[in-house]
Amino acid sequence: MLKQIEGSHAVAEAVALCRPEVICAYPISPQTHIVEALGERVKSGALAPCEFINVESEFAAMSVAIGASAAGARSYTATASQGLLFMVEAVYNAAGLGLPVVMTVANRAIGAPINIWNDHSDSMSQRDCGWIQLFAETNQEAIDLHIQAFRLAEELSLPAMVCMDGFILTHAYERLELPSQEQVDRYLPPFEPRQVLDPAQPVTIGAMVGPEAFTEVRYLAHAKQLQALELVPELARDFKAAFGRDSGGLVRPYRMEDAEIAVIALGSVLGTIKDTVDEMRADGVKIGALGITTFRPFPLREVRDALARVKLYVVVEKSLAIGIGGIVATDVRMALAGRLHLRGYTVIAGLGGRPITKASLRRALGEAAAGRLERLHFLDLDRAVVDQVLAREKEVRRSGPIAEAVLRNVGVVGAKIR
């Protein structure tokens, strides 16, 4: 059914169609609309049986989900940014215990400085925690990925994170195709847990494991996550058969057939990138784009294959590994190991919600094509401001907080801060 709807509400509807049995909610922007909408559904009885629990923190949210999942209930929560970081201990724990919790991360920057706008720092901080990470390019895909995520998580008994760009997707109203309950029920079987707390068959979950078996436990976690590389494309194929849409999968190439330049990215920025690709193609540049939908496990083979014929690639990413540079770029480089002649660029873009414009992208891609771009490029960086701060810091030992210094130089609100 087509519906003009906000992304968050659409996701809430999709999640509700998956018949979650326990939902934990703790408010943090920009994820709030999702759980609000779910809460209303539970309260009204539209979603039943389901327990909607207003927890006291994200740490509790994930913990409640862990308990519920271990007791055999399909469990869901949503968070973002600081919230994700606050629950980190439990995030790792859910993965370690192999509990198929599904969580939406409405991607948002991490402070300090505190910032509510979009980038991928939050999800990227959890790339090694053992969760499956799926990145939605559009709200339609966000809907579809949630439906697939439940099936994927439960088949593998691993938790899955569906990442969607905060505000850009969560708060965008658009026309979306919402599946019917029957369709979802056909696609997603009821939760049959791999292990469950059941008085009829008691088990001890969460033992302490020492050096004698810890490596094996970790290896198995890795091996299990790699199974998703097989399963994700299967589920996407099934999904297409059931819902008639291409959604999900490991990677999504765009106009890559004869591309010499590839632009690689995750999430909603792919839309802008595709437009830019189209414009540059019109100008005769052999360029294409590669969207990575499944970031964890990382589809090394698919990325390598997609880039097999390119001469140059640019990773545009909304996160920064401070002290080294790109995060996605590092993984891409891993996929391309051995192809030393390939020129690769990392473009850090859209941090803390800064718009990524076609113009800027085109400029950067043009520079890259010309071989003039720095290997690690910060899109639209106000070079004057940072140079000024750096120069001042060289002179003054106690130069004060960087953020305020930048603001002062930018002249926004901090003009009077001394």
Partner: protein, 541 residues
């Protein structure tokens, strides 16, 4: 369930981990000798029968009791209960009223007509018991139970010995005595009354007996030399108390002086009150602390109006009265005359100065050792003459009914062994169950139940029994005050308090066992065992 490797485990699988290897000392269950049992002259398993009484299983309790002593109803009245003096509960609040529970069981047995278990198979041996007092009857009972044919010859007209002719009715009603004697006779014991044995060896020969147990008692009153005029009426306690069993009541007059400080003296004084004496005065040469009579008897006598003159001896008795001399105790505690005299009026003087034994039946037995008028016996109660055993008041010992009954039991066991050509070896005694080993926290707070006593007017005028009995509720309460010192009473504490679940409960009556595979040796079980039935012993490492 397809369980994740290592993180998810099977329930209870830690039993594979034998933590017993950590232990440096191990708990062991012990059975220690409770002070009551240790103190009992009749060797009763007091704690053993209290255990059943606690549960209201009175018949079972009685049956445990009579394994050692056939006279519960009598003991419950006349025993001076050294068990209670030794009772560890005395340190906590007050001793358990063992004696009153015993009486309750004895009375219950009479009321319900409980009989002894059938005796062992007949041995074909015959034993002669001389004297139907507590010792003789007890020996007869035990010998009969062991399968021997027993004949009791009694010089007097009735069975009971001092229980009948020495203890006043107000302490031991005769129907109680008769009932417990009858029950022994029902085992097939032959009782021949008015049949004094003059020559024991001849009697054995003539009767074809294989062994004999002598328990003739001490019935000859000791006399003190008191210069007395013709008018003075002086008689002895033995004759007086014996006379009470006859039809004619002895005449004592209004003012009676009793000379002596033992329990008999008190019996006489209290009897005198009941016979109508307005004044009953005990004259004793030492102090109350030194008096051999039991304190409670003194107390009861005083309540009944008996008066006691301490530190006094009788110098002479005459028509005008008797002359007393005041005494003082020397540094060794012996009374010494002061020369200070006093005369008091008295219608009669009763001498209660102890009794001697008539040993004439032994005149023709060679080789016996007789010291201070009594026959020496070995630890097996046998005299120097093989097959001739003796007990009760005629051997050197404290002269109480309970001691006598104990002699009877002990002698019977040795006679039995002797008849079978073996030697009776009593089981080794356990270590003492001391108060220090107890954990008294666990026992409920419960002071002793006071037995009802007869009101004073009736005590001064009738021979009704002074001490009342406990009713069932009280008896049960009293039994349950027992701490079960030194012996497991299955309170489950060890089973519960073990942090390692290393105690196995074996079920009612079966107690527990330690599972040393898991016991880490913390010792909580030993600390929290109420009755001190667990000891920690070092492991050999």
């Amino acid at each position: 369930m397809d369980k994740p490797f290592a993180i998810t485990l099977d329930p209870g699988s830690s039993r594979a981990n034998h933590t017993g290897s950590w232990r440096t000392s191990r708990p062991v269950y012990v059975d220690n000798l409770p002070p009551c049992n240790r103190a009992c002259p009749a060797g009763e398993n007091i704690q053993g029968w209290l255990f059943h009484a606690e549960a209201g299983a009175y018949e079972a309790a009685w049956r445990v009791l009579v394994r050692d002593n056939p006279f519960p109803a009598i003991m419950g009245r006349v025993c001076y209960h050294p068990c209670e003096g030794a009772c560890n509960r005395g340190t906590l609040d007050e001793a358990v009223g063992i004696n009153s529970v015993e009486r309750f069981l004895g009375d219950e047995a009479i009321r319900r007509g409980w009989k002894f278990d059938p005796p062992a198979a007949a041995s074909g041996k015959r034993v002669l018991v001389v004297g139907a007092g507590p010792s003789g009857l007890a020996a007869a009972y035990h010998l009969a139970m062991l399968g021997h044919r027993v004949t009791v010859r009694e010089a007097g007209p009735l069975a009971g010995g001092m229980m009948r002719f020495g203890i006043p009715k107000y302490r031991l009603p005769r129907d109680v005595l008769d009932a417990e004697v009858r029950r022994i006779l029902e085992l097939g014991v032959e009782l021949v009354l008015n049949s004094k044995v003059e020559d024991i060896l001849a009697a054995m020969r003539q009767g074809g007996f294989d062994a004999a147990f002598l328990a003739v008692g001490a019935h000859i009153a000791k006399r003190a030399h008191i210069p007395a005029g013709d008018a003075a009426r002086i008689l002895d306690a033995v004759s007086l108390l014996r006379g009470l069993e006859g039809a004619e009541k002895p005449m004592l007059g209004r003012r009676v002086v009793v000379y002596g400080g033992g329990n008999t003296a008190l019996d006489v004084a209290r009897t005198a009150r009941r016979l109508g004496a307005t004044e009953a005065l005990i004259v004793y040469r030492r102090t109350r602390e030194k008096m051999p009579a039991h304190d409670f008897e003194v107390e009861e006598a005083l309540q009944e109006g008996v008066m006691i003159k301490w530190l006094s001896t009788i110098r002479q008795a005459g028509a005008q009265g008797i002359t007393l001399e005041k005494m003082v105790l020397d540094e060794k505690g012996f009374p010494q005359p002061t020369g200070e005299l006093e005369t008091i009026a008295a219608d009669s003087v009763v001498l209660a100065l102890g009794q001697d034994v008539d040993l004439s039946l032994l005149d023709k037995v060679p080789g016996l050792e007789i010291v201070d008028g009594v026959v020496k016996v070995g630890p097996d109660m046998m005299t120097r003459h093989p097959g001739l055993f003796a007990g009760g008041d005629m051997v050197p010992a404290e002269r109480t009914v309970t001691v006598a009954a104990g002699h009877g039991k002990k002698a019977a066991r040795h006679i039995d062994a002797w008849l079978r050509g073996t030697v009776y070896a009593p089981p080794a005694k356990h270590a003492d169950a001391t108060f220090e080993r107890l954990n008294p926290w666990y026992y409920s707070d419960a002071p002793k139940t006071v037995r009802p006593t007869l009101d004073l007017i009736r005590r001064q005028s009738t021979f009704d029994e002074v001490q009342g009995a406990l009713d069932e509720g009280n008896a049960l309460f009293e039994a349950r005050r027992c701490l079960s010192c030194g012996n497991c009473f299955e309170c489950d504490n060890c089973y519960g308090v073990c942090p390692d679940g290393a105690v196995v409960k074996l079920g009612p009556g079966e107690r527990y066992r330690f599972d040393y595979d898991y016991c880490k040796g913390c010792g909580i079980c030993a600390s929290e065992c109420p009755c001190g039935a667990i000891s920690m012993i070092p492991e050999e490492i």
